[in-house]
């Protein structure tokens, strides 16, 4: 894996920005663009895998045939998973990212 934090001169850069390592986008975190965050509730999830199939990225995490959560490093917050979730009540809820971060900070503050 190329270390993208080390910047190369134009003579050394791969031609035209062609990416020579398959799957390298895993290492590039794009979750910070998000305005809304999907919040997944394992207890409401009926394991239908619709969210996994519809996610236009690959941000629905699954292990051993079970949905296990959402990859927030790459989820861009499009909301398709929440829209497609057939569970009643819905297992995925979209919340404002700013609110979610506020909650994260509060939780972190309590822990320390």
């Amino acid at each position: 894996m190329r270390d993208y934090s080390k910047l190369l001169n134009w003579q050394e850069e791969p031609m035209s920005g062609i990416i020579e390592e398959p799957g390298s986008s895993v290492h590039y975190h794009t979750g910070s663009w998000r305005s809304y965050r999907p919040v997944w509730d394992s207890e409401k999830c009926i394991q239908c895998f619709r969210c996994w199939a519809y996610c236009p990225d690959a941000s629905i995490l699954a292990e051993d045939g079970k949905i296990t959560g959402i990859d927030l490093d790459h989820c861009k917050g499009c909301g398709i998973c929440a829209k497609e979730c057939p569970a009643k009540p819905a297992a995925i809820e979209m919340v404002l990212e700013s609110d979610a971060r506020e909650k994260d900070r509060e939780a972190a503050g309590k822990d320390s």
Binding site: W10, E13, M15, G17
Partner: protein, 392 residues
């Protein structure tokens, strides 16, 4: 191997397609290019080419087909003109930026509006910053020859840039001329087997083409394109010489006519250069020391070559078949820029002609040469372009 035949410009272009026998062509018709691709389609239908001919719904798609197929490692060509090139706009930049050596005749046509199907150079001049190499042709012979050379120039590993082979709509595309052509075997030996720099279909070396190139990286990739263009100048020279050895037809970066001792130098590209040559000969008989520089290579702009061709003139007049609105003709702008860098002590004037297919005649040229001779005497330089053949 060599054979003399009579072909229109479009037919000569189509025959070059046949002899090159590319893997893929993306096809969409537009006047006056239509006959060219029509002939290519006939060759494919008759089994004279092994090419995968992909018909699409627009030029945007035609160039998209070319980008996809070339990125997949296939030798790829198309052809277009005028509005078609305008509609390709987004994708021509993508082709050059991904260093895809696509070769495309551009049968020069005026841009709308008002709609006009006849010749001027606004289409390819508009694309002069797109990262494509641009060669201009005067006749059927040059079309055939430049297309074959274009493949070898584009695919050179130090270049890897697409090439537009430009020639005047109707005036050349639909006029029959005698030319000497090669055969498939000779051409395929000359251009050699295509070895792509990369392929998205190479399963042993998977790559991503089309990833986001953010501020820390994009600038470097643009600088690489600059280098490709710089190298192209050397490669054009080398390939042109090799082609000269094969055919006996020796081209340069420009074609000079009575230029060595010329006091008045004309600069003109495309079919008008042929007309200008006849006018130069007449003016010479009348004692005016005039000559012509006819650029064949416009991108990369071979500054040093043009500078040495024009350094002895006392007055240079650049003829443009298009306008950079708000400035002068694009060829004049670039010749002037070159003259500053090379410290040419020569006034340069501009003449705009032939927009929307208006004819320029030998008399138009001789009349303007007489005016230039007067300017030479009076030293009265007009910086505004002259408009030849305009009612005013």
């Amino acid at each position: 191997m060599a054979e003399k035949i009579a072909l229109t410009g479009n037919e000569a272009g189509a025959l070059a397609f046949k002899h090159i026998n590319p893997d893929v062509v993306g096809v969409y018709p537009i006047t006056p290019q239509t006959e060219l691709m029509h002939d290519v389609a006939k060759y494919v239908h008759d089994g004279d080419m092994d090419t995968e001919l992909v018909t699409v719904e627009s030029e945007h798609s035609a160039m998209s087909v070319c980008v996809g197929s070339s990125a997949g490692g296939a030798r790829t060509m198309t052809a277009t003109c005028g509005q078609g090139l305008a509609l390709m706009w987004e994708i021509i930049y993508i082709a050059s930026s991904y260093r895809l050596p696509i070769v495309m005749p551009v049968v020069n046509r005026a841009l709308s509006a008002p709609i006009n199907i006849h010749c001027d150079h606004s289409d390819s001049m508009g694309a002069r910053d797109s990262g494509w190499i641009q060669l201009f042709c005067e006749d059927s012979q040059e079309i055939y020859d430049n297309m074959i050379m274009a493949i070898k120039i584009a695919e050179n590993k130090d270049v890897l840039l697409p090439v537009m082979v430009c020639f005047d709509g109707f005036i050349i595309s639909h006029t029959m001329q005698v030319l000497e052509v090669l055969d498939r075997e000779t051409v395929s030996k000359f251009i050699g087997e295509y070895k792509p720099a990369y392929s998205v279909l190479d399963l042993d070396k998977p790559i991503t083409v089309g990833g986001l190139d953010l501020p820390p990286f994009y600038f470097e990739h643009k600088r690489q394109q600059v280098e490709g263009m710089k190298k192209a100048e050397e490669v054009i020279d080398k390939v042109t010489k090799e082609y000269g050895e094969l055919t006996g037809r020796n081209y340069g970066f420009y074609n000079g006519h009575q230029l060595e001792d010329a006091e008045i130098a004309l600069v003109a590209m495309g079919s008008a250069a042929g007309t200008a040559k006849a006018a130069v000969d007449i003016a010479r008989e009348n004692g005016i020391k005039v000559g012509l520089m006819e650029p064949r290579v416009f991108r990369p702009f071979p500054e040093e070559k043009f500078a040495s061709a024009l350094e002895n003139a006392k007055l240079t007049c650049v003829f443009d078949r298009s306008i950079s609105f708000g400035n002068k003709g694009p060829l004049a702008i670039e010749i002037k820029s070159m003259a500053y860098d090379y410290e040419l002590d020569v006034p340069i004037v501009n003449a705009i002609y032939g927009l929307g297919g208006r004819d320029i005649t030998v008399e138009d040229f001789t009349g303007h040469i007489n005016k230039l001779a007067e300017i030479c005497k009076s030293g009265d330089i007009e910086h505004e372009p002259a408009y030849i053949g305009l009612r005013e």
